[in-house]
Symmetry: D2
């Protein structure tokens, strides 16, 4: 299967490498990026990708290309989804689809009408630990879900310039946790209450964002959720989940690059967790793209569909409003949409 890659930034290149090295039955035929440069050219060359262009339309008009990976900046996602769908290409799109719910809805409608497949880039669902958690939940091991707890902390904040266009902590960072909360609870979120502060870096506040946040959720199925985020965990990437239910509790501790323990006259020491998402979720990225390629080949639904791209944005917008107004906000409040 031949694919086209739109956007060759960090995450685009990651997907390109995953397809080249780990997925024998798929290859990137063409890479497009409006900001083409030597770095991208060398990278593509190294992977044996010969078609390089600044015009994504070369991908969309290529009849040999079955599917596209949209890894460009967020403000172009909806537009590319719509055009790709109209061109009959299956679509893998990085999160978030957009910050504007109308644009998301339009994109999803077009995908629907075109009958192409769409998968949203929530790679954590493919993580060895969270996937296993989900299986055990579905096997009924913990009964009805009462509480979902998610901790998600980055090792260091991104540049303030990025923060400014990121959509804010809820739509840029916690959106992954909103997806995880929906995935594990098996339920939509009804109400959101957000607390947050600038505790890490005042510059983040000046850019109009916060860097520390706690969000509580009420799910339609009656369960409760709580997510905490920080833009800076000095010890490294911190990704933990707990699901508590009527018959038991599931926990996943953070992931580490090794499990060596050193006991000395001073204390008992081990290495820090994985540095960041590339290290932690490398396998998940591979599994994610495998699942996308599989879904196309076997003509079945992708594991993360359009609505899975829409709902976390709704939750994120509600969290923004909650933080601003200092009160819990229901997802259905018309003014979010």
């Amino acid at each position: 299967m031949k694919l086209g890659l739109i956007g060759a930034g960090r995450i685009g290149r990651l997907h390109g490498e995953v397809i080249t090295y780990y997925i024998p039955n798929a290859e990137i035929k063409t890479v497009s990026d409006v900001f083409m440069n030597e770095g991208i050219k060398n990278w593509a060359n190294h992977l044996g990708i010969s078609n390089i262009t600044t015009d994504y339309k070369e991908i969309l008009s290529d009849p040999e290309i079955q599917a596209v990976l949209i890894c460009s900046s967020t403000d172009t996602h909806a537009k590319f989804i719509i055009e790709a769908a109209k061109a009959g290409k299956h679509i893998f799109c990085e999160k978030p689809i957009d910050f504007n719910v109308e644009k998301i809805n339009e994109a999803l409608r077009t995908v629907n009408e075109a009958g192409v497949k769409l998968q949203i880039g929530f790679q954590r669902r493919f993580d060895h630990n969270f996937k296993r958690m989900k299986e055990l939940i579905e096997e009924g091991k913990i009964g009805d879900i009462h509480i979902v707890k998610i901790t998600s902390r980055d090792p260091a904040p991104p540049p303030v310039e990025y923060i400014r266009v990121s959509g804010g902590i809820f739509l840029d960072m916690m959106i992954h946790d909103f997806d995880m909360a929906r995935y594990l609870s098996g339920s939509e979120v009804e109400e959101v209450y957000a607390q947050g502060s600038v505790l890490v870096d005042p510059a983040i506040g000046e850019a109009g964002d916060i860097d520390t946040a706690i969000v509580t959720l009420k799910f339609k199925n009656g369960a409760h959720g709580v997510i905490d985020n920080s833009r800076q965990a000095v010890y490294g990437y911190d990704q933990r989940v707990e699901v508590f239910g009527s018959k038991g509790c599931l926990t996943v501790e953070n992931d580490f690059p090794n499990s060596v323990v050193l006991s000395t006259a001073e204390n008992v020491v081990s290495d820090k967790p994985h540095y960041f998402f590339l290290e932690r979720y490398m396998n998940a990225y591979v599994e994610e793209i495998k699942a996308f390629v599989n879904a196309i080949e076997e003509g079945k639904e992708t594991p993360v569909v359009g609505n899975d791209g829409l709902q976390p944005v709704l939750i994120g917008l509600a969290a923004q409003k909650s933080l601003k107004e200092g009160r819990p906000v229901r997802i259905k409040e018309k003014f979010i949409l």
Copy 2:
């Protein structure tokens, strides 16, 4: 040092045993309980306590008795504190002091005027794990505190009759976590938002309470807190704390009666956590009473003073109001007091 014990229910007997067996330089001289019965008599006899009475005044008027342990029902705490203080006795009082802030304030004023010592029964502060956490925080190991997370779940709900008079989950159960949050953060709580549901047993709802709750806190020092409670963790007592700061993170996992791991053809298995608070906090109860006896002997302040009894009640009342009104509530809102 001779002490009097007022109230010989479960917790009163626990303190009696702790003093008899573990604290060589203190003894219970007299036990009073309005509901005196054979069980109490046998128990006291077994411990070698010969003075048994239904009249607590025998304790207060005994010049040989330096201190009293108030372990009677909550509605009598304030009254006994006031009378004991006036009688010049040092006071150890179980939590909560009362559900009524005016009564608490009156009791604290009396204690103050009498110049006696008062210690409130938040034994978790003396737990080997939480005490060590506090030390590390005070040594500055994690820098400024950003997030305090507390999980506290009971193995099974108490009888519904108890729930009815308990003061509700926030004042009966989560009050320990409010204390822990203040203790570890080193800051007072400013604002509370409470979510909760009846997920464990409808009878708890009929009794006017909830059995599952998530509360988020804003501290005066800018930190955030989150506490989750359930009246029923089928796997046993679940007590975990995490404190995340600018320079690092402290975690304490749950405590287990043994660390034996059994690996078989099916899976990897270990025993459940301690069943409940008596097993888990036995050492903490000993340390707590040792600290009380020490404070008296050495004429220094007790480690858990009157205000430590008042604040968690204020937070609990704010949580009740928050749950009822579906909005965050500031501790200072006049109508709580």
Copy 3:
């Protein structure tokens, strides 16, 4: 029940405190020590023990005393066992009974003839972890035992003067592990091979002992065992056991005073293990004496009988011979006895 304590050194005082504080139905009536001093007097006084003597015969001739705790130096154990048995006292004796097998056998014969109870001080059998392991083995959870692995390391070597009279690492230190190996395997040891060196402190070598040893065992039931000892684990007391069988494997990791984990920009750190045996096995010492008192009160066999005192000495002597001769030694080789 009234007991007499013969020998008020470190371990004797420990048992005295255990009985005074933790075992309501037993008390030390008399303490004897040939090296009586102010320290012992003050200690006994503090515990409320009024009879203090340099003559152990005051204990043996006291009809009120039902049982004795022999905590004197090893070379006096056999003699005191024999005299106590003849005086009709039940006996708790610290390990090892003696280094001379003939003397042990004579002591055990006398105990047998007198019909008194004898318990040997292998307190590790009462440890929360190892006891649980034993239960699971007896429930058949791991099937037939194939391999028993024991790690046992002290935080620091004892003074060289002690080493000189200690009987050597096998009879002083590893003897506890020989007992644990027999206890968990449920089988006697047939053959021993010992390796060892002076790696910690040359002075230990000059005193005729080694400080690092690895011993492999063959059990009568076909299982294999391996024990490693070091006189100095700079990180603290290290006590771990693993039992591997046809249906699974049991492991017990080392015990720690708390489970607080600190994650910082440098690494992930926790506190060192318990410092030494007093901290680690405090509860085991209590359970051990409770079991002894119970056995007497209920007229049943003690949980660690005379043969449990003999066998580890035989294994230790075989290990000494193996180390000296550089070959595996069978327990039955006549010249050990």
Copy 4:
């Protein structure tokens, strides 16, 4: 870089896949196997390898091929090494080189004379955990090494037909542990004592082998080692290492496919370890071949040289002799060589 693969059994295919998928700058040009069949052809085809032959000489005579991977049966290793070296190819050879020390020596001499590189397939050295251990040892974190402990257990025994030609547990299975012991201790082994039994399956005994073994080692640097092996750990592949030294201790626990913990009303459960070496050491296999390709490209020594292939065989032969004769055996005893 182009490589030839000699022998396309399980391990040969693994290396073929590793090179194809994970190592961009290397490719398998030709595969040879005397037992060529449809399975191998389809496999090679799937990987895009077009040259398939039953004659390994096509590889050795191909001037484009720089290096060979010898993954054929053990009895052909020495012969292929010699011929490949004479043909000027760099060589990666699976362990063991041979069971005959003379043949190994001849092969190593030829490699030396030819000036080609040779790497032996001890992939565990490239494992994320053991590599990290080695780094910490070399940084001096644990001081001088006193004890090396290795546990290595397979999930299930191989077919008895395999056992018969395997060279026995010491040369087939424990040889990896002998390598690990040398690697971590940084010292050669001087003396070996082996214990072992048939506890898993009598058919293994009938085939002339044992299935359970404990081997103790004395290293030239004064350290001691102990290795335990079982052909059947019903819970899965068990690979653990501990290195104890004068300044501390390093431990690595077993590796698991996920870290999800399920707490229920019965117990606390997690999934079994990785099933076997393919799952556990997948990353190590990749790193191993990367290191080989790197060594060739950069003209430096391989990380596991010829002597690293010889020494573990010497240790294994000594272990066989020790088991047979029931005594410790020194590596230098002439009759091993």
